[in-house]
């Protein structure tokens, strides 16, 4: 019997809530009546039903062999089960007397024979010692042994130097890869552990490749192999046990404004109306500079809409005093980034602030009082402003980025298209300093208009080819980054030939000559996969794509990148994805020699949105 052949596709439901469906009676073989129901099938109480009884997918019944996209189906289905098992195993390793994990292990588990590891001291400094454990190459395959499940924990624990009173969560196993291996599963995880050795704080990290069997559809997967590689142990060798301490409260705490800062967007977001633009995503940065010329560096903090930006001047005792209102910079507008730079070469730090409505430029009178000189509404909601004298005429020009292009993209979730190579982002702007706080848009003229349609988050200026001219690197979300070589007042897009595109969902970059070979290298912060997969169209493992394309897409969710400058105009990706590449959702990153040993280290700001609900999406 033929049903109503017509179908609505847009948001319509009939008054009785019944389904509207298009059915095409398919074929014989006694199977008539099977409808090809096209889009728009509704059932009256479906939502509430599904909410009340979320369907549990029985993993055994999904066809794991069938189709492209099957790979994602595997991840979708198995990852919660594997994660649960990993949690049990990690907790049991931390605390062997705790929960029973025999259900999580197969009777025999194959592991790397711990006796076969060779130790190599990787670093020994003033406060930290780092040792790497690995298998000599010739032993790689033969070092596997099988242990009884009851011995498994005892074999693993010693490698991690866990104290007898290790907390239950001393060991973490983070899943980041899952694939099918015949009827079994293979997973890749990163292991981290907090331990103690001889009274010193001790940390381990390693890559673990695990294999699992799935004997029945009712039982959880069981571990059959747990191979540790790249085990790195680091130890704090000096007292005090805390090298770094957060003293913001002491330094800023005597100001009423500290009350504003000690609360975050989870709170403020509830108490500021949406039309004031309290950016829930927390895109508010800072600038450091000396605003009153006393030789001490001061701090400017951008704030969400509805809260004033804060300018703190430093006093000789190190404390900081709120001078925002007197200075004239206590903007309530939603602000992202700012700069404290001398724009008129009169010896004091002027200010530029990116607010929602416009990019503002202000003149410092030398004593920390700012007067608004210019505003650029075409760069409203600008990101990561930077200053550089691109044309070497002796004054600083300003470069401001745009992320989304349309009003709906600004401040909320964007609509990038195409998703992995989005070209519908906002246009960045180079404001060329004409003197006297006048700036002209020189973007097109100087060549930075090329491909100027990306979702740009951060820019950084560096002379990457050591020719004395500052080049500029732009980190883009939803696509490749850009590198523009400064050829003297004009820029050339060398993104492709320099190998620095680092396709990904980039947030920022930082330059340093990390290997001290005389050329500046680059570290790029990106979004990391396990979270990213949640919102990516799930075709990144689509086997109908060419191998090259697939690799590119996989790279896009891999994590941060370390790009080593070859010295001849190009970069090579030397990232160890399990190490400095291993990320979370990374935002700002900064190279800095934090232990004064002459080698620049890296600190990365991680984490997207943490709220009260423990259940992470």
């Amino acid at each position: 019997m033929r049903r109503n052949p017509l179908l609505d596709l847009v948001s319509f439901r009939s008054a009785d809530g019944k389904a509207r469906a298009l059915g095409i009676c398919l074929f014989g073989v006694g199977l008539c009546g099977i409808a090809f129901v096209l889009a728009g099938y509704y059932h009256k109480d479906k939502t509430s039903e599904i909410e009340a009884n979320p369907p549990k997918l029985d993993p055994g019944l999904l066809d794991l062999n069938s189709t492209p996209g099957g790979a994602n189906a595997i991840a979708d289905l198995w990852s919660p089960l594997i994660k649960t098992q990993l949690l049990h195993i990690a907790n049991a390793i931390s605390n062997p007397d705790g929960d029973e994990i025999s259900m999580s292990l197969a009777d025999r588990v194959s592991i790397v024979d711990p006796q076969q590891f060779r130790e190599e001291e990787l670093y020994h400094g003033q406060s930290v010692r780092v040792v790497g454990l690995s298998l000599p190459e010739e032993l790689e395959n033969s070092a596997l042994i099988e242990v009884d499940k009851s011995d498994f924990i005892d074999r693993i624990r010693p490698l991690l130097s866990l104290g007898s009173e290790a907390p239950e969560d001393a060991v973490h196993l983070k899943l980041f890869g899952i694939s099918r291996n015949g009827a079994d599963l293979s997973t890749k995880q990163r292991l981290t552990a907090e331990g103690i050795r001889g009274g010193n704080d001790f940390r381990s990290s390693a890559v673990v490749e695990a294999t699992w069997i799935t004997p029945t559809t009712d039982d959880p997967p069981q571990l059959t192999g747990f191979t540790l590689t790249n085990l790195v142990q680091s130890e704090l060798t000096s007292a005090p046990t805390s090298i770094f301490k957060d003293i913001a409260g002491s330094v800023l705490g005597s100001n009423p404004a500290w009350e504003q800062l000690r609360l975050g967007m989870n709170t403020w977001g509830r108490h500021i109306e949406h039309s004031l633009n309290p950016d829930f995503l927390g895109y508010h940065g800072l600038a450091i500079g000396d605003v009153d010329g006393d030789g001490l560096e001061d701090l400017y903090l951008c704030q969400p809409g509805g809260l004033p930006n804060l300018l703190f001047r430093q006093t000789p005792d190190g404390k900081m005093t709120d001078i925002s209102a007197a200075a004239g910079v206590d903007f309530l507008d939603n602000s992202t980034g700012a700069l404290l730079v001398d724009l008129d070469n009169d010896g004091d730090a002027d200010m530029a602030v990116a607010t929602k409505a416009a990019f503002l430029v202000m003149d410092n009178d030398g004593k920390g009082n700012f007067t608004l000189r210019e505003s650029y509404p075409e760069v409203g909601m600008g990101y990561s402003p930077t200053a550089a004298d691109y044309d070497l005429d002796g004054d600083l020009d300003l470069f401001v980025l745009r992320y989304g292009a349309t009003e709906s993209d600004i401040g909320d979730f964007p609509t990038p298209h195409p998703f992995r190579d989005a070209r519908n982002g906002g246009a960045n702007i180079l404001l060329e300093n004409q003197g006297g706080f006048r700036f002209l848009d020189a973007t097109e003229r100087c060549g930075l208009g090329a491909g100027n349609h990306r979702f740009s988050f951060a820019a950084s200026w560096e002379d990457f080819d050591n020719d004395g001219l500052l080049d500029v690197h732009i980190v883009n979300d939803f696509g490749p980054n850009q590198l523009f070589r400064n050829d003297g007042k004009r820029f050339k897009d060398v993104s492709v030939q320099s190998g620095s595109q680092d396709w990904g969902f980039g947030m920022s970059a930082t330059w340093a000559d990390y290997d001290r070979d005389g050329h500046m290298d680059l570290y790029v912060s990106n979004m990391f996969s396990s979270a990213g997969n949640q919102i990516l169209p799930q075709s990144n493992l689509d086997t109908t794509l060419s191998e090259e394309t697939r690799k590119k897409y996989l790279k896009m969710v891999r994590g941060n990148s370390l790009l080593r400058n070859s010295g001849s105009g190009s970069f090579s990706d030397v990232t160890d994805p399990m190490n400095e590449g291993f990320g979370g959702w990374a935002w700002g990153s900064q190279f800095a020699d934090l232990n004064n040993d002459g080698w620049e280290d890296l600190y990365v700001a991680n984490g997207y949105i943490t709220q009260e609900d423990e259940d992470d999406l």
């Binding site: 019997m1 596709l9 948001s11 319509f12 298009l22 398919l26 073989v29 099977i34 889009a39 479906k46 369907p55 066809d63 994602n72 780092v130 704090l236 409260g249 002491s250 009350e259 500021i272 633009n277 927390g282 940065g285 800072l286 450091i288 560096e297 509805g306 809260l307 930006n309 209102a325 206590d330 309530l332 507008d333 700069l339 070469n345 402003p385 930077t386 550089a388 004298d389 002796g394 998703f419 950084s460 004395g468 947030m507 970059a509 000559d513 001290r516 990516l536 075709s539 190490n579 800095a592 020699d593 232990n595 040993d597 002459g598 080698w599 890296l602 600190y603 984490g607 943490t610 999406l617």
Partner: protein, 707 residues
Amino acid sequence: MFFWRRVALQSPEDDLKPTATPGYSRNFRELNDLLSRGKSFSGRERNPLFLNLKGEGFAEVGGLLGVDFPDDARAVATMDWDRDGDLDLWVTNRNAPQVRLLRNNHPAGSSSLLIRLIGNGTTTNRDAIGARLVLGQADDPEQEQIRTVHAGGGFLAQSSAVIHFGLGESANDLRLSVAWPGGKTETLSGLKSGNRYVITQGRKEFEVMPLSDPIQAPISRDEIPDTLENTVPGGLWLANRVPFPSLDYTDNTGEARTTTSSIGKPILVNLWATWCESCVRELQEFGKLDKFLQSRGATILALNVDGLALDGGALSEGTIEEILKRAGYDFPHGIASREGLAKIEMMIEFLTSRRESLTIPSSFLIDGEGYLSAIYVGEIQGKQLIKDIDLLRSPPAEQLKRATARAGRWFYNPRQIDRVAFLGDYATSFAKGGFPGESRRLSRMIKPQDGALTAKDHYNQAKAAARQGLVADAEQLYLEALRLEPEFGQALTGLGALFLVQQRVEEAENLFEKALSIDPNHATALINLAMIDQSRGQKDRALARLEKVVAKNPDYAEAHLNLGSLLASMKQLDRAIFHLSKAIAFNPKRAIAHLNLASVYMEKQLWEKAEQRYRLVRQLNPKMPYAHLGLATLQARRKLHPEAVISLRKAISLGAENAKSYTQLARSLLALGDKKGASEALLTALKIDPKYAEAQQIIKENRLLSE
């Protein structure tokens, strides 16, 4: 748990509808929705610190060094805050605390030097941004380190421009070259570790300050509670007001009333419960404000929520009247309705983008024109209420100050918004939440001087009406939108879809064709036209259209679903499998895609694959009859007739009431020896379709209707 969910009609499932926007936009909307409800996303991630192993790699030591905070960190900047020669870190966070100063206490004995550069201000900018420094041992050029002076460069961060060099061990005879941007390269020698240098372009002399007098560390505060006690004055004063929704309630005489009847004077609508101590205390406060409120022509309406509270206690002894009397409260009062509370929740969500359960007590201050001016969560202090009621009559600038918890200045006045769009969105939010009447009322309040309603406003209203099944209203509104903007693509397709359901096929077709003429790649138009083509048997035409949609929108799950289904019906089974699989890859929980794929497997006689898919559909959506039907067929094939009977009965009960399913049922019943049951089923089949050959045949073969 939210009132509005219990009250409203089922809200539209945006995420299951094909729209012209690709899958990831939908995902972003879902994400936004989940975030507004308190879910985390990539949260509690620790900040790593990668120690540079002398250029040979990195080791993560954040935990060891005490910087691995699980914050939602954003910007990182370096600065030697305490002037002790090592770099400290400023970090800003999305969550509390918004800023950290990580003071670096590396043991003394490590060595470094700091350099501040000053350009000449003529050829070279004063801040020396862009200067390249090279520092090395005079006798060992291999050990050089390079730096560039930056102004900004990380994510929203500008670090100190004072350059820092770590040196490993102390060094005495260091040589520095500075390439000044726009100027020459200058060299200085004899620099020593443990110093801070200020070097000015063109001058041979430089300032030296030993790093021997660092700031002593003050005692740090612990604990950063995330509360707002005493941080903000009570209440959220709105910069941009919205009309208060009309709440139904029962007054103290039992009459049904709405809050709109009180428009004309300021009114504080208060929600309270008898078991709530602070509520009762608050009522006492209100009682004391009798004279004041009268003098301002204002009043209070206390609505009791005892019967409606989700997680409150039971109704306490003493009726509402008694409690109010004891509290000395003499203003109007009544009993709140579920719908009213639902509307309040929706209003709060619109204003703050947060979706949470109502707190008791809550109060809402409404001005003399019926617009909401302030929201108070928790107990109000009498003093605050007095101030706020007077504030209603103050000039806008005063009121704007009250709208922010802290003082400051606005560059761009936040009240300069597109009020029509704002109020239009507000009105639409009620339609989406299941209150179309409220939505209409609010839309009508958008005054002409606010600006005329745009095509988009009408379109939004139309969509909302359509969702609620108000076909006539929707049609009017779409037509109005199109009158204002004849080429409004979404209005064209929206109205087209409306016509389709009413079987006004030709009219629908015209609209879709028009949308297509404006945008030849309009996905929704193409899909709908393909549907119409199919219904007329013009499958090739439909195919061409759907292929076009897929080509332009390779990530569009619905397009693949439609194309795959069509290909299946055209017996292009392998292609069908390809596209249906794609649809599934993009949206694995779309039961229909699995269902159709199952049918294709059946066609290809891949029985096991088909069975797996049918089982999956059954789990995803147990109410889909065709999954049960499919399984029944397979079960019958394997002679599992008892199971087949169950599946068939289930399918029939879910709506697959046709001759074929009854006949199948009959077959299985026969195989089980139930002639009576089989006869009944066959009779039913013939009742539905008297000419159904198969049923007649079975009856004949088995001599079932001898009576």
